[in-house]
């Protein structure tokens, strides 16, 4: 870790870090935190948000002066794939009152995963609408909660009125290999299926 400055000429092959952002959306309790935990080393990431919108429930704002912010902890995971390629997972805060933060986390994202609980499918409408509007490629992952009815992904896709190009897959957010398969489905879809030839 000597202080060797980055050599800008080695772009693409050598030392340059190639980070990619994948955002995890879905309704309250859909399994976002579990999903990020399953596949990556998770460290909390703190951000701070204006109290005017985010502070419902705070006791006393009178003495705060001009800087009215509160700190929000977010799901954040880092997956090192190769020496240079690193995936960053960011769980979008599900509560409506934090949805104004989604833009910051979704900016320039490679893709998104919408976690859906089939018992409360309407909870994921907001995320689906959001990624459609933003034209961020996404997959819908049906989280298999114990005791939840089993739905055919195609039925759910129809119920969500998804474009046929949007994959709908089953997942168990507690299972690392299941989470990995969701991410593979996402990246395969982004690469137009061409990367999926050696599927397992």
């Amino acid at each position: 870790m000597a202080s060797v400055p980055f050599d800008g000429t080695s772009s693409g092959t050598g030392g340059e870090l190639a980070p990619f952002k994948i955002v995890i959306g879905g309704g309250f309790g859909a399994g976002k935190t579990t999903f990020v935990h399953a596949i990556s080393e998770v460290r909390p990431l703190h951000t701070e948000e204006a109290l005017s919108t985010a502070s419902i429930g705070f006791d006393d704002l009178t003495d705060l002066g001009a800087k009215r912010t509160t700190t929000v902890a977010l799901d954040y995971g880092r997956i090192t794939l190769t020496e240079r390629v690193v995936l960053f997972l960011f769980g979008l805060p599900g509560q409506e009152r934090f949805s104004f933060m989604w833009d910051e986390f979704s900016y320039g994202a490679l893709g998104a995963v919408v976690l859906a609980d089939v018992r409360r499918l309407d909870d994921c409408f907001a995320s689906v609408n959001y990624f459609e509007k933003l034209q961020v490629p996404f997959v819908v992952a049906l989280n298999c909660f114990d005791g939840a009815p089993k739905y055919d992904p195609e039925e759910v896709s129809a119920a969500l009125d998804l474009d046929p190009s949007v994959p709908t897959v089953l997942c168990d957010a507690r299972d690392p290999s299941s989470v990995r398969d969701v991410l593979i489905a996402l990246v395969e879809n982004i690469s137009g299926g061409s990367g999926g030839t050696e599927s397992r």
Partner: protein, 130 residues
């Protein structure tokens, strides 16, 4: 730096209350003074140049902590998670260091930019090997 954020007595005179404490290390600034706002996965690295370590312009212990971490390439999110500082605070401190020439932005990813097929294949191979 946890001492700064965690010391209950230190900032109370300012009468801001605990919810604004993180911005004390930026002297109340919530936005970088110059330049672009860095994205969470923009990569930064120390240049090895800029002010000397004992120069007051080097700023707070938080500036120095971030500068030390920047010895190797890191994203803004990495820096926030390693220091425990809020993302907005890290952005302001980084902007100071960039202005001093001590840190430089290695990569800024344009929004909505789809990577090339070779990169996507690299990601897929990496995921399959997990």
């Amino acid at each position: 730096m946890m001492a700064v954020l965690g010391d209950p007595g230190r900032w109370q005179r300012r009468n801001y209350g605990p919810v604004v404490r993180p911005y004390a290390v930026t002297r109340g600034r919530t936005e970088p003074e110059v330049g672009v706002v860095l994205d969470l996965i923009d990569v930064v690295v120390a240049t090895g140049e800029g002010a000397h370590d004992d120069d007051p312009a080097r700023g707070t212990p938080e500036h120095r902590t971030i500068l030390a971490l920047c010895e190797s390439q890191l994203t803004v999110a990495d820096l926030a998670s390693r220091t425990g500082l809020p993302v907005g605070v890290v952005r302001v401190l980084l902007a100071d260091l960039i202005e001093q020439g001590a840190v430089t932005v290695v990569r800024q990813r344009p929004a909505g930019h789809r990577p090339g097929n070779d990169v996507l294949q690299e990601i897929l191979n990496g995921l399959r090997a997990l």
